[in-house]
Amino acid sequence: MNTQEIRQQFPMLAHNSQLVYLDSAASALTPQCVIDAQSQYYQEYGVNIARGLYDASTHATSKYESARQEVAQFIGARASQIVFTSGTTMSINMIAHGLTDSICANSRIATTIAEHHSNLIPWQQLSARTGAKLDIVGITNNKELELSTLTNQEFAQIITPQTAVLALGYASNVLGNVNPIAQIIKRARAINPNILVVVDAAQAIAHIEIDVAQLDCDFLAFSGHKVYGPTGIGILYGKTKALAQLTPLITGGEMVDRVSENNVTFKGLPHRLEAGTPNIAGAVGLASALEFLRKIGFDKVSKHAKELLDYTKDKLRKNFGDNTIIYTGNSENIGLLSFSFFDIHPHDVADILNTHHIAVRAGTHCAQPLHSTLGVGATTRISFGIYTTTADIDQLITGLGAVRDIFAQNPKI
Protein backbone atom coordinates (compact mmCIF):
# COMPACT_ATOMS: atom_id res chain seq x y z
CA MET A 1 0.00 0.00 0.00
CA ASN A 2 1.25 3.48 -0.74
CA THR A 3 0.48 6.36 1.62
CA GLN A 4 -2.64 7.42 -0.29
CA GLU A 5 -4.01 3.87 -0.14
CA ILE A 6 -3.18 3.74 3.55
CA ARG A 7 -4.99 7.05 4.13
CA GLN A 8 -8.13 5.59 2.59
CA GLN A 9 -8.18 3.00 5.37
CA PHE A 10 -8.68 5.73 8.00
CA PRO A 11 -12.27 7.05 8.18
CA MET A 12 -11.20 9.94 10.46
CA LEU A 13 -9.30 11.45 7.56
CA ALA A 14 -12.30 11.20 5.23
CA HIS A 15 -14.66 12.68 7.84
CA ASN A 16 -12.28 15.54 8.58
CA SER A 17 -11.00 16.36 5.14
CA GLN A 18 -9.10 19.45 6.29
CA LEU A 19 -7.47 17.75 9.27
CA VAL A 20 -3.68 17.72 9.44
CA TYR A 21 -3.15 15.19 12.20
CA LEU A 22 0.30 15.42 13.77
CA ASP A 23 -0.41 13.90 17.17
CA SER A 24 -0.11 10.18 16.53
CA ALA A 25 2.18 9.76 19.54
CA ALA A 26 -0.79 10.69 21.74
CA SER A 27 -3.20 8.44 19.85
CA ALA A 28 -2.81 6.99 16.40
CA LEU A 29 -5.90 7.13 14.20
CA THR A 30 -7.96 3.96 13.82
CA PRO A 31 -8.20 2.09 10.52
CA GLN A 32 -11.52 0.71 9.26
CA CYS A 33 -10.51 -2.91 9.91
CA VAL A 34 -10.07 -2.20 13.63
CA ILE A 35 -13.44 -0.44 13.82
CA ASP A 36 -15.02 -3.39 11.97
CA ALA A 37 -13.45 -6.00 14.24
CA GLN A 38 -14.87 -4.30 17.33
CA SER A 39 -18.24 -3.71 15.72
CA GLN A 40 -18.35 -7.36 14.63
CA TYR A 41 -17.89 -8.44 18.25
CA TYR A 42 -20.87 -6.39 19.42
CA GLN A 43 -23.03 -7.34 16.42
CA GLU A 44 -22.26 -11.04 16.07
CA TYR A 45 -20.93 -12.53 19.30
CA GLY A 46 -21.10 -9.76 21.90
CA VAL A 47 -21.27 -11.87 25.05
CA ASN A 48 -18.96 -12.64 27.93
CA ILE A 49 -16.03 -15.00 27.65
CA ALA A 50 -14.73 -17.98 29.58
CA ARG A 51 -17.87 -18.77 31.55
CA GLY A 52 -20.70 -19.33 29.07
CA LEU A 53 -21.53 -22.85 27.92
CA TYR A 54 -23.27 -21.64 24.80
CA ASP A 55 -21.93 -21.18 21.26
CA ALA A 56 -21.68 -17.38 21.26
CA SER A 57 -19.60 -17.42 24.44
CA THR A 58 -17.37 -20.16 23.11
CA HIS A 59 -16.84 -18.11 19.97
CA ALA A 60 -16.10 -14.94 21.96
CA THR A 61 -13.59 -16.85 24.09
CA SER A 62 -11.94 -18.23 21.01
CA LYS A 63 -11.66 -14.77 19.39
CA TYR A 64 -10.29 -13.27 22.62
CA GLU A 65 -7.66 -16.00 22.95
CA SER A 66 -6.79 -15.70 19.24
CA ALA A 67 -6.21 -12.01 19.87
CA ARG A 68 -3.79 -12.94 22.64
CA GLN A 69 -2.02 -15.25 20.21
CA GLU A 70 -1.73 -12.45 17.63
CA VAL A 71 -0.21 -10.10 20.23
CA ALA A 72 2.21 -12.81 21.34
CA GLN A 73 3.31 -13.41 17.76
CA PHE A 74 3.73 -9.67 17.18
CA ILE A 75 6.36 -9.33 19.91
CA GLY A 76 7.88 -12.81 19.83
CA ALA A 77 6.27 -14.07 23.05
CA ARG A 78 4.08 -17.00 24.07
CA ALA A 79 0.33 -16.45 24.53
CA SER A 80 0.53 -17.35 28.23
CA GLN A 81 2.94 -14.43 28.70
CA ILE A 82 0.45 -11.86 27.37
CA VAL A 83 -1.88 -10.11 29.83
CA PHE A 84 -4.60 -7.80 28.53
CA THR A 85 -4.79 -4.57 30.52
CA SER A 86 -6.36 -1.17 29.95
CA GLY A 87 -3.13 0.35 28.67
CA THR A 88 0.53 1.05 29.36
CA THR A 89 -0.19 2.98 32.56
CA MET A 90 -2.18 0.10 34.02
CA SER A 91 0.44 -2.42 32.93
CA ILE A 92 3.29 -0.58 34.64
CA ASN A 93 1.22 -0.02 37.78
CA MET A 94 0.41 -3.74 37.88
CA ILE A 95 4.14 -4.47 37.77
CA ALA A 96 5.11 -1.85 40.37
CA HIS A 97 2.34 -2.86 42.78
CA GLY A 98 2.84 -6.54 42.08
CA LEU A 99 6.50 -6.32 43.09
CA THR A 100 5.88 -4.57 46.42
CA ASP A 101 6.56 -7.74 48.41
CA SER A 102 9.69 -8.53 46.37
CA ILE A 103 11.41 -5.22 47.11
CA CYS A 104 13.08 -4.41 50.39
CA ALA A 105 14.51 -1.26 51.91
CA ASN A 106 18.06 -1.94 50.77
CA SER A 107 16.95 -2.63 47.18
CA ARG A 108 17.45 -0.05 44.48
CA ILE A 109 15.18 0.87 41.59
CA ALA A 110 16.64 2.54 38.51
CA THR A 111 14.90 4.56 35.84
CA THR A 112 15.73 7.56 33.65
CA ILE A 113 14.89 11.25 33.50
CA ALA A 114 13.47 10.73 30.00
CA GLU A 115 10.50 8.67 31.14
CA HIS A 116 6.83 9.45 30.69
CA HIS A 117 5.23 10.07 34.10
CA SER A 118 3.61 6.63 33.85
CA ASN A 119 7.05 5.01 33.91
CA LEU A 120 8.27 7.23 36.74
CA ILE A 121 5.52 7.75 39.28
CA PRO A 122 4.75 4.03 39.84
CA TRP A 123 8.47 3.62 40.74
CA GLN A 124 8.44 6.69 42.99
CA GLN A 125 5.47 5.15 44.76
CA LEU A 126 7.10 1.71 44.98
CA SER A 127 10.17 3.38 46.43
CA ALA A 128 8.00 5.20 48.98
CA ARG A 129 6.17 1.99 49.95
CA THR A 130 9.28 -0.11 50.39
CA GLY A 131 12.07 2.30 51.29
CA ALA A 132 14.05 1.18 48.23
CA LYS A 133 16.29 3.89 46.77
CA LEU A 134 15.18 5.34 43.44
CA ASP A 135 18.06 6.12 41.05
CA ILE A 136 17.16 8.40 38.15
CA VAL A 137 19.72 8.42 35.36
CA GLY A 138 20.10 11.49 33.16
CA ILE A 139 20.55 12.22 29.48
CA THR A 140 23.63 13.52 27.67
CA ASN A 141 23.95 16.82 25.82
CA ASN A 142 23.16 14.84 22.68
CA LYS A 143 19.82 13.87 24.28
CA GLU A 144 20.85 10.24 24.61
CA LEU A 145 20.38 8.13 27.72
CA GLU A 146 23.47 8.27 29.90
CA LEU A 147 22.99 4.55 30.43
CA SER A 148 24.02 4.06 26.81
CA THR A 149 27.18 6.17 27.00
CA LEU A 150 28.62 5.50 30.46
CA THR A 151 31.82 3.53 30.88
CA ASN A 152 31.47 0.13 32.53
CA GLN A 153 32.80 1.58 35.76
CA GLU A 154 30.31 4.47 35.76
CA PHE A 155 27.49 2.15 34.74
CA ALA A 156 28.29 -0.14 37.68
CA GLN A 157 27.76 2.75 40.09
CA ILE A 158 24.17 3.16 38.94
CA ILE A 159 23.20 -0.41 38.21
CA THR A 160 24.38 -2.43 41.19
CA PRO A 161 23.78 -5.95 42.50
CA GLN A 162 21.14 -4.30 44.75
CA THR A 163 19.25 -2.85 41.78
CA ALA A 164 16.10 -4.96 41.71
CA VAL A 165 14.28 -3.10 38.94
CA LEU A 166 15.43 -1.18 35.88
CA ALA A 167 12.56 0.64 34.15
CA LEU A 168 13.31 1.99 30.68
CA GLY A 169 11.38 3.65 27.89
CA TYR A 170 12.13 2.07 24.52
CA ALA A 171 11.51 5.37 22.73
CA SER A 172 11.00 8.82 24.24
CA ASN A 173 7.65 10.56 23.76
CA VAL A 174 9.42 13.93 23.86
CA LEU A 175 12.74 13.31 22.13
CA GLY A 176 11.62 10.63 19.68
CA ASN A 177 14.89 8.77 20.25
CA VAL A 178 14.95 5.00 20.07
CA ASN A 179 17.08 3.93 23.02
CA PRO A 180 19.61 1.11 22.63
CA ILE A 181 17.87 -0.91 25.31
CA ALA A 182 19.12 -4.34 24.24
CA GLN A 183 22.67 -3.18 24.93
CA ILE A 184 21.67 -1.53 28.22
CA ILE A 185 19.82 -4.67 29.37
CA LYS A 186 22.83 -6.84 28.54
CA ARG A 187 25.13 -4.61 30.61
CA ALA A 188 22.66 -4.53 33.50
CA ARG A 189 22.36 -8.32 33.54
CA ALA A 190 26.13 -8.67 33.61
CA ILE A 191 26.04 -6.84 36.95
CA ASN A 192 22.87 -8.38 38.35
CA PRO A 193 21.51 -11.44 36.52
CA ASN A 194 18.31 -11.22 38.61
CA ILE A 195 17.49 -7.59 37.79
CA LEU A 196 13.91 -7.17 36.57
CA VAL A 197 13.91 -5.04 33.44
CA VAL A 198 10.66 -3.22 32.64
CA VAL A 199 10.36 -1.77 29.14
CA ASP A 200 7.81 0.95 28.41
CA ALA A 201 7.15 0.32 24.72
CA ALA A 202 4.22 2.74 24.39
CA GLN A 203 5.99 4.89 21.82
CA ALA A 204 8.03 2.14 20.19
CA ILE A 205 5.32 -0.39 19.46
CA ALA A 206 4.00 1.27 16.28
CA HIS A 207 7.44 2.04 14.88
CA ILE A 208 9.96 -0.71 15.66
CA GLU A 209 9.82 -4.46 15.28
CA ILE A 210 9.99 -5.76 18.84
CA ASP A 211 11.26 -9.18 19.83
CA VAL A 212 11.05 -9.62 23.58
CA ALA A 213 13.24 -12.73 23.53
CA GLN A 214 16.00 -10.83 21.77
CA LEU A 215 15.65 -7.82 24.08
CA ASP A 216 15.74 -10.13 27.10
CA CYS A 217 13.45 -7.82 29.09
CA ASP A 218 11.38 -9.25 31.94
CA PHE A 219 8.34 -7.04 31.34
CA LEU A 220 7.14 -4.95 28.43
CA ALA A 221 4.09 -2.69 28.32
CA PHE A 222 2.22 -0.95 25.53
CA SER A 223 -1.20 0.51 24.65
CA GLY A 224 -3.55 -0.35 21.81
CA HIS A 225 -4.37 3.22 20.80
CA LYS A 226 -0.76 4.09 20.01
CA VAL A 227 -0.54 1.25 17.51
CA TYR A 228 -3.69 2.00 15.46
CA GLY A 229 -5.82 -0.02 17.87
CA PRO A 230 -8.62 0.93 20.27
CA THR A 231 -8.34 2.97 23.47
CA GLY A 232 -8.83 1.16 26.76
CA ILE A 233 -6.81 -1.89 25.80
CA GLY A 234 -3.15 -2.53 26.45
CA ILE A 235 -0.64 -5.25 27.03
CA LEU A 236 1.54 -6.44 29.84
CA TYR A 237 4.07 -8.94 28.60
CA GLY A 238 6.21 -10.79 31.12
CA LYS A 239 8.58 -13.69 31.17
CA THR A 240 6.69 -16.54 32.84
CA LYS A 241 8.84 -16.37 35.95
CA ALA A 242 8.49 -12.59 36.15
CA LEU A 243 4.71 -12.62 35.77
CA ALA A 244 4.48 -15.34 38.43
CA GLN A 245 6.30 -13.01 40.82
CA LEU A 246 3.55 -10.38 40.58
CA THR A 247 0.93 -10.23 43.31
CA PRO A 248 -2.31 -9.40 41.48
CA LEU A 249 -3.17 -5.70 41.92
CA ILE A 250 -6.80 -6.32 40.99
CA THR A 251 -8.71 -9.30 42.32
CA GLY A 252 -12.22 -10.59 41.70
CA GLY A 253 -14.02 -12.68 39.12
CA GLU A 254 -12.45 -14.81 36.42
CA MET A 255 -8.99 -14.81 37.97
CA VAL A 256 -9.72 -17.34 40.71
CA ASP A 257 -9.61 -21.09 41.03
CA ARG A 258 -11.17 -22.04 44.39
CA VAL A 259 -12.84 -19.56 46.70
CA SER A 260 -14.06 -20.14 50.25
CA GLU A 261 -15.22 -17.68 52.87
CA ASN A 262 -11.71 -16.87 53.96
CA ASN A 263 -9.44 -18.27 51.28
CA VAL A 264 -8.77 -18.11 47.58
CA THR A 265 -6.47 -19.76 45.11
CA PHE A 266 -5.73 -17.92 41.90
CA LYS A 267 -5.79 -19.24 38.36
CA GLY A 268 -2.59 -19.74 36.42
CA LEU A 269 -1.07 -17.20 34.05
CA PRO A 270 -2.11 -15.06 32.34
CA HIS A 271 -5.67 -15.25 33.76
CA ARG A 272 -4.73 -14.52 37.36
CA LEU A 273 -3.76 -11.02 36.22
CA GLU A 274 -7.02 -10.42 34.33
CA ALA A 275 -9.68 -9.98 37.00
CA GLY A 276 -13.20 -9.11 35.89
CA THR A 277 -14.72 -9.10 32.42
CA PRO A 278 -12.01 -7.87 30.07
CA ASN A 279 -12.26 -5.45 27.18
CA ILE A 280 -13.14 -8.13 24.64
CA ALA A 281 -13.90 -5.78 21.75
CA GLY A 282 -10.68 -3.94 22.54
CA ALA A 283 -8.66 -7.15 22.43
CA VAL A 284 -10.00 -8.23 19.04
CA GLY A 285 -9.59 -4.66 17.79
CA LEU A 286 -5.98 -4.62 18.93
CA ALA A 287 -5.29 -7.93 17.20
CA SER A 288 -6.74 -6.50 14.01
CA ALA A 289 -4.51 -3.40 14.32
CA LEU A 290 -1.38 -5.49 14.79
CA GLU A 291 -2.27 -7.61 11.77
CA PHE A 292 -2.84 -4.42 9.75
CA LEU A 293 0.55 -3.04 10.74
CA ARG A 294 2.31 -6.36 10.19
CA LYS A 295 0.99 -6.44 6.62
CA ILE A 296 2.38 -2.96 5.94
CA GLY A 297 5.70 -4.00 7.44
CA PHE A 298 8.15 -2.21 9.71
CA ASP A 299 10.66 -1.61 6.91
CA LYS A 300 8.13 0.62 5.24
CA VAL A 301 7.04 2.20 8.53
CA SER A 302 10.55 3.27 9.54
CA LYS A 303 11.50 4.44 6.05
CA HIS A 304 8.36 6.59 5.94
CA ALA A 305 9.05 8.07 9.39
CA LYS A 306 12.66 8.87 8.55
CA GLU A 307 11.76 10.55 5.25
CA LEU A 308 9.13 12.70 6.96
CA LEU A 309 11.47 13.61 9.78
CA ASP A 310 14.26 14.67 7.44
CA TYR A 311 11.76 16.62 5.36
CA THR A 312 10.35 18.38 8.44
CA LYS A 313 13.72 19.28 9.92
CA ASP A 314 14.82 20.67 6.57
CA LYS A 315 11.64 22.75 6.14
CA LEU A 316 11.79 24.10 9.69
CA ARG A 317 15.40 25.11 9.21
CA LYS A 318 14.82 26.75 5.82
CA ASN A 319 11.76 28.67 6.95
CA PHE A 320 12.53 29.60 10.53
CA GLY A 321 16.26 29.00 10.99
CA ASP A 322 17.49 29.39 14.53
CA ASN A 323 14.07 30.44 15.77
CA THR A 324 13.09 26.80 15.98
CA ILE A 325 14.93 24.77 18.58
CA ILE A 326 14.45 21.05 18.04
CA TYR A 327 14.83 18.74 21.02
CA THR A 328 15.95 15.45 19.58
CA GLY A 329 19.10 13.40 19.35
CA ASN A 330 20.85 12.09 16.28
CA SER A 331 20.00 8.47 16.96
CA GLU A 332 17.19 6.51 15.34
CA ASN A 333 13.89 8.35 15.76
CA ILE A 334 10.31 7.04 15.72
CA GLY A 335 9.06 10.06 13.75
CA LEU A 336 8.52 12.62 16.48
CA LEU A 337 9.83 16.14 17.05
CA SER A 338 9.42 18.47 20.01
CA PHE A 339 10.45 22.06 19.46
CA SER A 340 10.38 25.64 20.67
CA PHE A 341 9.17 28.26 18.22
CA PHE A 342 10.50 31.82 18.64
CA ASP A 343 9.59 32.75 22.21
CA ILE A 344 5.94 31.91 21.64
CA HIS A 345 4.33 29.71 24.25
CA PRO A 346 3.49 26.22 22.87
CA HIS A 347 -0.16 26.59 23.89
CA ASP A 348 -0.43 29.68 21.73
CA VAL A 349 1.32 27.85 18.88
CA ALA A 350 -1.04 24.88 19.14
CA ASP A 351 -4.13 27.06 19.52
CA ILE A 352 -3.38 29.05 16.38
CA LEU A 353 -2.39 25.91 14.43
CA ASN A 354 -5.79 24.49 15.41
CA THR A 355 -7.48 27.34 13.57
CA HIS A 356 -5.66 25.99 10.50
CA HIS A 357 -6.99 22.47 11.29
CA ILE A 358 -3.54 21.32 12.35
CA ALA A 359 -3.51 19.06 15.43
CA VAL A 360 -0.30 19.12 17.47
CA ARG A 361 0.52 18.51 21.13
CA ALA A 362 1.68 21.34 23.37
CA GLY A 363 2.88 21.23 26.95
CA THR A 364 5.14 18.89 28.84
CA HIS A 365 3.77 15.67 27.31
CA CYS A 366 3.57 13.95 30.72
CA ALA A 367 7.33 14.35 31.09
CA GLN A 368 7.87 17.31 33.44
CA PRO A 369 11.26 16.19 34.81
CA LEU A 370 12.60 15.81 31.27
CA HIS A 371 11.45 19.32 30.35
CA SER A 372 13.19 20.68 33.46
CA THR A 373 16.36 18.87 32.36
CA LEU A 374 16.05 20.30 28.87
CA GLY A 375 15.64 23.73 30.45
CA VAL A 376 12.36 24.50 28.70
CA GLY A 377 8.97 25.07 30.30
CA ALA A 378 6.97 23.39 27.58
CA THR A 379 7.35 22.34 23.96
CA THR A 380 5.25 21.86 20.86
CA ARG A 381 5.33 18.29 19.61
CA ILE A 382 4.54 16.80 16.22
CA SER A 383 4.43 13.07 15.64
CA PHE A 384 3.78 11.05 12.53
CA GLY A 385 1.69 8.04 11.65
CA ILE A 386 1.73 5.81 8.60
CA TYR A 387 -0.85 8.14 7.01
CA THR A 388 1.19 11.34 7.44
CA THR A 389 2.29 13.01 4.20
CA THR A 390 4.74 15.73 3.19
CA ALA A 391 1.65 17.77 2.29
CA ASP A 392 0.77 17.66 6.01
CA ILE A 393 4.21 19.05 6.80
CA ASP A 394 3.84 21.77 4.18
CA GLN A 395 0.60 22.85 5.86
CA LEU A 396 2.31 22.80 9.24
CA ILE A 397 5.00 25.14 7.90
CA THR A 398 2.32 27.47 6.52
CA GLY A 399 0.52 27.35 9.88
CA LEU A 400 3.69 28.12 11.78
CA GLY A 401 4.26 31.06 9.45
CA ALA A 402 0.84 32.37 10.50
CA VAL A 403 1.73 31.88 14.18
CA ARG A 404 4.92 33.87 13.70
CA ASP A 405 3.10 36.65 11.85
CA ILE A 406 0.40 37.01 14.52
CA PHE A 407 2.98 37.37 17.26
CA ALA A 408 5.15 39.64 15.16
CA GLN A 409 2.34 42.19 15.20
CA ASN A 410 3.07 44.98 17.56
CA PRO A 411 -0.21 46.77 18.02
CA LYS A 412 -0.23 50.33 19.27
CA ILE A 413 -1.46 50.89 22.77
Binding site: H347, D351, I406, F407, Q409
Partner: protein, 132 residues
Protein backbone atom coordinates in the same frame (compact mmCIF):
# COMPACT_ATOMS: atom_id res chain seq x y z
CA UNK B 1 -7.25 33.58 15.06
CA UNK B 2 -10.18 34.40 17.32
CA UNK B 3 -8.15 34.02 20.48
CA UNK B 4 -5.52 36.44 19.36
CA UNK B 5 -7.40 39.56 18.47
CA UNK B 6 -5.76 42.86 18.94
CA UNK B 7 -6.66 43.28 22.62
CA UNK B 8 -4.94 40.08 23.72
CA UNK B 9 -1.82 40.75 21.68
CA UNK B 10 -1.72 44.34 22.83
CA UNK B 11 -1.85 43.36 26.50
CA UNK B 12 0.59 40.50 25.92
CA UNK B 13 3.17 42.70 24.23
CA UNK B 14 2.51 45.73 26.45
CA UNK B 15 1.35 44.43 29.83
CA UNK B 16 -0.28 47.01 32.14
CA UNK B 17 0.34 46.97 35.88
CA UNK B 18 3.34 44.70 35.43
CA UNK B 19 5.98 44.16 38.09
CA UNK B 20 6.16 43.81 41.86
CA UNK B 21 4.69 46.20 44.43
CA UNK B 22 7.24 46.70 47.19
CA UNK B 23 4.55 47.78 49.64
CA UNK B 24 1.99 45.13 48.73
CA UNK B 25 -0.54 44.28 51.43
CA UNK B 26 -1.63 41.04 49.75
CA UNK B 27 0.25 38.55 47.59
CA UNK B 28 -0.57 35.29 45.84
CA UNK B 29 1.07 32.90 43.44
CA UNK B 30 -1.03 30.97 40.94
CA UNK B 31 -0.10 28.21 38.58
CA UNK B 32 -1.75 26.03 35.97
CA UNK B 33 0.20 22.85 36.51
CA UNK B 34 -0.93 21.25 33.27
CA UNK B 35 0.46 23.99 31.05
CA UNK B 36 2.95 25.72 33.30
CA UNK B 37 1.33 29.19 33.32
CA UNK B 38 2.42 31.23 36.31
CA UNK B 39 0.87 34.43 37.69
CA UNK B 40 1.95 36.36 40.79
CA UNK B 41 -0.45 39.05 41.97
CA UNK B 42 0.44 41.88 44.36
CA UNK B 43 -2.29 44.09 45.81
CA UNK B 44 -2.40 47.21 47.91
CA UNK B 45 -5.73 47.18 49.71
CA UNK B 46 -6.73 50.23 51.70
CA UNK B 47 -10.19 51.31 52.81
CA UNK B 48 -11.75 48.32 51.03
CA UNK B 49 -10.31 49.57 47.78
CA UNK B 50 -7.79 48.01 45.42
CA UNK B 51 -5.51 51.04 45.46
CA UNK B 52 -2.88 49.28 43.40
CA UNK B 53 -2.42 45.95 41.69
CA UNK B 54 0.51 44.50 39.83
CA UNK B 55 1.43 41.14 38.36
CA UNK B 56 4.38 39.14 37.12
CA UNK B 57 4.25 35.81 35.40
CA UNK B 58 5.23 33.46 32.68
CA UNK B 59 3.10 31.54 30.27
CA UNK B 60 0.92 31.73 27.21
CA UNK B 61 -0.39 34.95 25.71
CA UNK B 62 -3.92 34.34 27.01
CA UNK B 63 -2.84 33.86 30.64
CA UNK B 64 -0.55 36.90 30.70
CA UNK B 65 -2.88 39.19 28.75
CA UNK B 66 -5.80 38.23 31.00
CA UNK B 67 -3.76 39.29 34.04
CA UNK B 68 -3.00 42.64 32.44
CA UNK B 69 -6.64 43.17 31.47
CA UNK B 70 -7.88 42.30 34.95
CA UNK B 71 -5.31 44.52 36.66
CA UNK B 72 -6.11 47.49 34.48
CA UNK B 73 -9.84 47.03 35.06
CA UNK B 74 -9.82 46.54 38.82
CA UNK B 75 -7.27 49.14 39.86
CA UNK B 76 -9.05 51.78 41.94
CA UNK B 77 -12.24 49.73 42.28
CA UNK B 78 -13.55 48.25 45.52
CA UNK B 79 -12.59 44.90 47.00
CA UNK B 80 -16.23 43.93 46.57
CA UNK B 81 -16.01 44.67 42.86
CA UNK B 82 -13.04 42.31 42.62
CA UNK B 83 -14.84 39.62 44.61
CA UNK B 84 -17.89 39.94 42.39
CA UNK B 85 -16.05 39.12 39.17
CA UNK B 86 -16.92 35.54 38.32
CA UNK B 87 -15.91 33.28 35.45
CA UNK B 88 -18.35 34.85 33.02
CA UNK B 89 -17.35 38.33 34.09
CA UNK B 90 -13.69 37.57 33.50
CA UNK B 91 -14.31 36.01 30.10
CA UNK B 92 -16.35 39.11 29.22
CA UNK B 93 -13.39 41.32 30.14
CA UNK B 94 -11.11 39.26 27.90
CA UNK B 95 -13.61 39.92 25.09
CA UNK B 96 -12.81 36.85 23.02
CA UNK B 97 -14.25 33.36 23.03
CA UNK B 98 -11.90 30.83 24.61
CA UNK B 99 -11.96 27.15 23.73
CA UNK B 100 -12.58 24.78 26.68
CA UNK B 101 -8.87 23.97 26.81
CA UNK B 102 -7.93 27.65 27.14
CA UNK B 103 -10.50 28.81 29.69
CA UNK B 104 -8.19 27.97 32.58
CA UNK B 105 -5.53 30.21 31.00
CA UNK B 106 -8.03 33.07 30.90
CA UNK B 107 -9.13 32.53 34.51
CA UNK B 108 -5.77 32.06 36.24
CA UNK B 109 -5.24 35.75 37.02
CA UNK B 110 -8.73 36.12 38.49
CA UNK B 111 -8.33 33.04 40.67
CA UNK B 112 -4.95 34.28 41.85
CA UNK B 113 -6.32 37.76 42.61
CA UNK B 114 -9.18 36.24 44.63
CA UNK B 115 -6.64 34.05 46.43
CA UNK B 116 -4.53 37.14 47.21
CA UNK B 117 -7.45 38.73 49.09
CA UNK B 118 -7.06 35.93 51.64
CA UNK B 119 -3.29 36.24 51.89
CA UNK B 120 -2.31 39.49 53.61
CA UNK B 121 1.39 40.15 53.93
CA UNK B 122 2.45 40.85 57.49
CA UNK B 123 4.39 44.07 58.07
CA UNK B 124 4.53 44.36 54.30
CA UNK B 125 7.04 41.53 54.16
CA UNK B 126 6.66 39.38 51.13
CA UNK B 127 6.13 35.78 51.79
CA UNK B 128 6.56 33.05 49.30
CA UNK B 129 3.48 31.00 48.85
CA UNK B 130 4.09 27.46 47.76
CA UNK B 131 2.38 26.01 44.75
CA UNK B 132 -1.00 24.57 45.44
Amino acid sequence: MNNYQEKILDHYHHPRCHGDLTDATHLAHGRNTSCGDIINISLIIKDDTVQDISFTGDGCAISQAAASILAEYIKGKSVDDLKKINKDGMLKLVEIPLSPARIKCGLLALQTAHEALNLPTKNNTKKIINDV
